[in-house]
């Protein structure tokens, strides 16, 4: 499956940002990078990303706060959190806030790409679901209460 995805990577480490973006680009995805949560939120408002991959521990607002901000602004892009000091409480909190996955650094390229694939699949399923619901809604409002009665 060679679907091209639009991905945003948020991390305060330049090397991590560089190597991650290179890995995604080599896989054929579009990548935007942000070194802090504030910039990331601004960017996410401008463009609907297929996936947002964010580090948790960052100076200023951390990854979990970013996730809260995104949801508060109505941005529904799938978010995957990653951290070098992952512990269970952090993962639970991320999941509760609506993170799609929680990855512990270091992460292999294969695992990263698999995660991207999963996210895209989910995104596509969600879109399909939404479209079908939309159609059902249209049928209900334009036609009679019982479409089979005509």
């Amino acid at each position: 499956m060679n679907t091209k995805a639009d991905i945003m990577v948020v991390d305060d480490e330049a090397s991590t940002l560089a190597s991650l973006s290179r890995a995604f680009r080599l896989a054929g995805h579009d990548v935007a990078v942000c070194s802090n949560a504030v910039h990331a939120l601004e960017l996410a408002r401008l463009r609907p990303f297929d996936l947002i991959l964010s580090d948790v521990v960052m100076p200023g607002r951390d990854g979990l706060a970013l996730l809260e901000d995104l949801r508060a602004c109505g941005i529904t892009s799938p978010v995957v959190m990653m951290s070098g000091q992952a512990h269970i409480e952090m993962a639970v909190r991320a999941t509760k806030l609506g993170a799609l996955d929680f990855l512990e650094k270091p992460i292999s390229t294969d695992k990263l790409l698999l995660t991207v694939e999963n996210a895209l699949k989910l995104r596509r399923l969600e879109n399909e679901n939404r479209e079908l619901r939309h159609r059902v809604g249209n049928i209900r409002s334009s036609g009679s209460a019982n479409p089979w009665a005509a």
């Binding site: 305060d12 480490e13 330049a14 090397s15 991590t16 560089a18 190597s19 991650l20 290179r22 890995a23 080599l26 521990v57 960052m58 100076p59 200023g60 070098g84 000091q85 650094k105 270091p106 992460i107 292999s108 390229t109």
Partner: protein, 595 residues
Amino acid sequence: MSLRQKLLLIFSLTVVLAVAAVAWIVSLRTRQAFTKADEQHTAALIDQFRRELQGRAADVAARVDEVAASDRLIRIAFDLAAAGSDPSPYMAEAAALAKDHQLDYLEILLPDGTIVSSAQYPARFGYKEDLHLAGDQPTFLKKEELSDSANEIGLFVVRKVPASELPLYVLGGKRLDRGFLADLAAPADSQILLYPILTPKFDPNAVVSATGEVERATRFEPIIEQARATGQQRSSVVYVTDRREDSVDAAAIPLKSPNGSVLAVLVVANSRRGLIELQQHIRAIGYGVAGIGMLLAIVASLWITSRISRPIERLASAAGAVAAGNWDTQVEVTSHDEVGELAQSFNHMTHQLLEQRERLLQSERVAAWRELARRLAHELKNPLFPLQLTLENLIKARNTPGVDFDEIFRESTETLAAEIANLKNIIQRFSDFSKMPKPQVEEVDVADVLRKISGLYEPALTQHQPAIAFESRISDEPLRVSADPDLLHRALSNLVLNAMDAMPDGGTLTINAARNGDSVELRVSDTGTGMTAEECERLFTPYYTTKQHGTGLGLAIVQSVISDHNGTIRVESTPGSGSTFVVELPSLAASAAKA
């Protein structure tokens, strides 16, 4: 009151009370014994007196019998029997007869009591003697009036002249006076006094003793008057002088006439000098014993308290030493009593304390090692992630057609070099922490150190984007402490750097330094995001960090340095409004003053 004083008081009281009780009992017994002896003495003297009186009476009776049986008196009786005879020629007979028969008093009386002749009062011739005349009366006491109108008390007997027609009587007697007393064998410490009642009022000059007149006879007036008034024997203590030794136990015995009137009072006085002296002696011994007892009590209490309180004092000072932190303090066990047990328990306690501390230290060491391992793993994970990704990217790029491999290679090698440098840096910081040098202390002015640090970091602060305002409030007076200037510089610089890191969005960094009592107080404040209470609590734990790139060693090093300088460090922080690190170092002036 200390234990020693209490014991001394108890021992002294015991000794004094015991000695006082013994002295009192001995004194009481002595007094009782003396009183009994006195009573026996007095009774014996009274007996002796009565025997003497009887002896005298017998003597008087014998003499009067002789007079009555004398030819001369028989002849006078015969002559007087002749009717109408004149008794006047016999006026001087009584005096001659009294002299012959050694009688003090002698009267020749007619049956009706008319005096024919009187030896003691010749002029009473023709007067009547108011007497019941009978043949064989016992002797009796009588007050006798003398020719010189003086009175005397005498022992009298009446006898009838035998074998005569005219019943003629002879009244003869002997004087009861000093001579009589002299014949009584009184012991040396006893005195016999006689008071003939010749005047209605007490006459001290009338009191006589065997040796003559009596000094201070008035002292006997109350007891004599009592015996006289009641007619009964009376006893009491009489103080001859005001001194106790001169007091006597006196018994007053009334001497009565046949009709019951008291004619004289005999006083038997036993000196109390012996008793008083013995009592004084007992008291002196009591004082002596009490004094010696007190000395012994002092010695005993000192000895006992030294045995009891010295080990307790040792225990107390050992407990103080343990409280001050010397947990290996041991107390010498010198006895097998309760105090010894206490000392053993104390030693056991300190031993256990030491063991527990050792166990605690060990578990802390283990925990620290675990934390170090965890921290190191985490620190290494961060640079490992880009290293791994970059390598995987390179491999992928090499096999992917149509990519600019050279470009990717250049970029990747840069990343690899940067992360390897990062790894080296991390290892270097851990290595530095393990090689913390020992402080080389000297006198340092903290104000100077802070001014240097301010000068060093002020440009960085102003150039920071956005800018960080800098406020310095350093006391003008020198803030001298004993410190290693390099270590102190590093520690305080670390605090300033931390404050800068806490304000990525700008703010104000404030440095305060001033003397606060015995210490120098330094405050480094930022207006950053602040920290939660939990974060503040873990802040100084080694390898803990709130920063992505911190080793978690900075503040641990700062705390270690401050602690090596006998100082303290703490943080005051409120989330959202910034943090203040407060360092307190002992002021050199204060520690010098203490030393």
